[in-house]
């Protein structure tokens, strides 16, 4: 039995991509030392020319990634903190994402941005605990939130091979997960959801590390209700067909989402279900509050994130 950790899976995906394609390179802070785990050992193996330690200039090195991508490279950008995405929103939303259309298809920007440790890391407080994946999905940037080690491997591999910019969130709450890997690691296509547990009464659409919470609650309530746990894996483009097929089986929807409620990911999932699905009961969502700023004290930090009790209540509410 080989237990593969989430962090190691990402590291292996990046190593395999660097080995397979000389166009792949990495820009980020402390990537030589491998501080965040993603690049551990990679600078020694592939050289400081390909795994590049950058100064603390997120805007410039993200744009340099765009420039290198325009010149035929496939850069991977590592950001140490999820909130650094706000710093480079201009570079991603207004530059990288727009080049293809604005140039009439002349340019492509195969850039992958990875945040190893997104969402709350417990005790890092307001400016280090955001989970702004809905913001990037809203912009139309391909947005990935793998939940398992094999999906982390597979989605990071596909992100690097993709011809468009991609942002990959590796939730802090999933980084410690270990998985008994029985099949060879392989790319996972973007835009394809995964059913972690089949069920017939309620679909729980759960994102990232919350998949584990959904699975635990589904097991706990197994005598009471049959819960299908669906993991979108890619938030944009969302696998709407899989969501609608699941709703066709269950007719009920709860969304479990660690982003802010207003105009968040769950809001979009509910809209799709309302517009395109046939529901037996009004759908529910369990999310962070509107405009959440996670407070420092652990109890307060947890109080603003979706929890198992809220999920249980939501499942029972749609079953009424």
């Amino acid at each position: 039995m080989t237990l593969l950790s989430y962090a190691k899976a990402m590291n292996r995906a990046l190593a395999d991509a660097l080995a397979a394609d000389p166009a792949v390179c990495v820009f980020g802070e402390d990537v030589g030392a491998g501080l965040a785990g993603l690049t551990l050992g990679l600078q020694q193996r592939f050289g400081a020319e390909r795994v590049v330690d950058t100064p603390l200039s997120e805007q410039a090195f993200t744009s340099a990634g765009i420039g290198a991508a325009l010149a035929g490279m496939r850069p991977v950008i590592e950001l140490q903190i999820p909130s650094l995405l706000f710093l480079v929103f201009e570079q991603l939303a207004n530059q990288a994402h727009k080049f293809s259309l604005m140039t009439g298809g002349q340019a492509r920007v195969p850039l992958t941005v990875v945040v190893p440790g997104s969402g709350s890391r417990s005790g890092w407080a307001g400016q280090h605990s955001d989970h702004p994946y809905a913001l990037f999905a809203h912009v139309g940037i391909k947005t990935l939130v793998p939940a398992t080690p094999t999906d982390a491997y597979g989605l990071l591999s596909s992100a690097i091979a993709d011809d468009d910019p991609v942002v990959l969130f590796a939730p802090a709450g999933a980084l410690g997960v270990r998985e008994d890997v029985t099949v060879p690691l392989a790319p996972v296509p973007l835009g394809v959801a995964r059913t972690h547990r089949p069920g017939t009464d309620v679909t729980v659409l759960s994102v990232g590390h919350l998949v584990y919470q959904a699975l635990a609650v589904a097991e706990e309530l197994a005598d009471e209700v049959s819960v299908e746990v669906l993991d979108p894996r890619t938030l944009y483009p969302l696998d709407r067909a899989a969501l609608l097929a699941s709703l066709g089986r269950t007719g009920r929807l709860v969304v479990l989402d660690d982003s802010n409620r207003f105009a968040g990911f769950a809001a979009e999932a509910l809209a799709i279900a309302g517009e395109e699905g046939r529901l037996l009961a009004p759908p529910r969502r369990v999310t962070r509050p509107d405009g959440a700023v996670l407070p420092f004290a652990l109890g307060l930090d947890r109080a603003l994130q979706p929890d198992a009790a809220q999920l249980r209540d939501a499942i029972r509410a749609v079953m009424k």
């Binding site: 805007q59 993200t62 340099a64 420039g67 010149a71 604005m102 009439g104 298809g105 002349q106 492509r108």
Partner: protein
């Protein structure tokens, strides 16, 4: 080393004349409504684009600005296709998807005008870094205005270029104003001082003299090409027209008529023409005028894009977004 069409004085004068006449035509097209949204005219600054591009090769690249027509034409873009782009036609450089502020021709190394002040500089650094890695003897020129000197990302880009010894030629077109804000009131220290602070050799040249610009650009570009790292060129210049075509409607008074007139006395086209036999100048002017008639014909004959294709090219991978219409 030089782009063949800019290799001699006649070629450089011709390119400056082309930019000037193109921009005059664009002004007419804005007035008549053929170009919607307006343009940022390059008139007055022609010697900068042409002098710098004269130091570049066909394989070299550039990033441009909101005031980009001059750079795009100097690097060799087809004026008919640029005009078609400004008019939003399918045969435009960007198939009508970019317009004035995003004109690009990747086949010529033109990585695009850019609507965000300062945004091109770090992109140029990344492209130059990639060229280094790929072992190509390529220089990337990055044009920006005095206004961009106060964008934080530009300072980050100077530093990155310096520590990476990236073959970038930073070109600051100091035309004295960021829209209405005088550079003197906005820039602490000096443009060159900022570059030098990052260990980048910097020169200030007369941006109204195409030969002076070319000579300085050549020095810095060849140094960068040989692995000597980035260079910084401040070109003192002036825009003769409004910041943007819309400004004409406002009657702003941030520049005195005397100041504008004094700079017009130093018209870079006049001095470039003076170095050539008058008959040659006349023949070039006639040539350019003919070329622009054909360009206008070409642009006008080009169709407007089919609204059903408005989402085309959004994703290089071909992903189609959902429609915004009700289901």
């Amino acid at each position: 080393m030089s782009l063949p069409h800019l290799a001699d004085r006649a070629g450089r004068y011709r390119a400056m004349r082309l930019i000037r006449s193109f921009e005059e035509l664009a002004l007419e097209w804005v007035r008549s409504g053929l170009i919607v949204g307006g343009t940022h005219p390059y008139i007055g600054q022609e010697a900068v684009a042409v002098g710098v591009c004269a130091a570049l090769t066909a394989d070299d690249q550039l990033t441009s600005t909101h005031r980009g027509h001059g750079h795009v034409l100097a690097k060799g873009a087809d004026p008919g296709r640029l005009l078609a782009e400004l008019a939003g036609r399918v045969d435009g450089l960007n198939r009508g998807r970019g317009g004035s502020m995003h004109a690009a021709d990747f086949s010529l190394g033109i990585l695009g005008a850019n609507g965000i002040v300062g945004a091109g500089a770090p992109i140029a650094v990344g492209a130059a870094w990639a060229a280094q890695r790929q072992g190509r003897p390529r220089v990337v020129a990055s044009f920006f205005g005095d206004g961009a000197l106060n964008q934080g990302v530009l300072l980050e880009a100077l530093n990155l270029a310096s520590i990476w010894r990236a073959p970038v030629l930073f070109v600051c077109e100091n035309n004295g104003y960021a829209t209405t804000l005088p550079a003197g009131a906005a820039v602490g220290g000096s443009a060159c001082g900022r570059a030098e602070a990052f260990g980048i050799p910097a020169e200030t040249v007369d941006g109204m003299d195409v030969e002076a610009v070319r000579a300085a650009a050549q020095r810095l570009a060849e140094r960068a090409r040989a692995g000597g790292g980035p260079g910084f060129l401040e070109c003192l210049t002036y825009r003769f027209e409004a910041h943007h075509t819309m400004e004409r409607r406002f009657r702003l008074s941030y520049r005195t008529p005397q100041e504008v007139a004094a700079w017009r006395e130093r018209d870079p086209l006049v001095s470039a023409a003076a170095a050539l036999p008058p008959a040659e100048v006349a023949s070039i002017d006639a040539d350019v005028s003919q070329l622009l008639s054909l360009a206008a014909e070409f642009a006008l004959a080009s169709a407007e894009p089919d609204p059903a294709t408005a989402d085309d090219h959004l994703y290089a991978s071909g992903l189609r977004p959902r429609s915004g219409a009700a289901l």
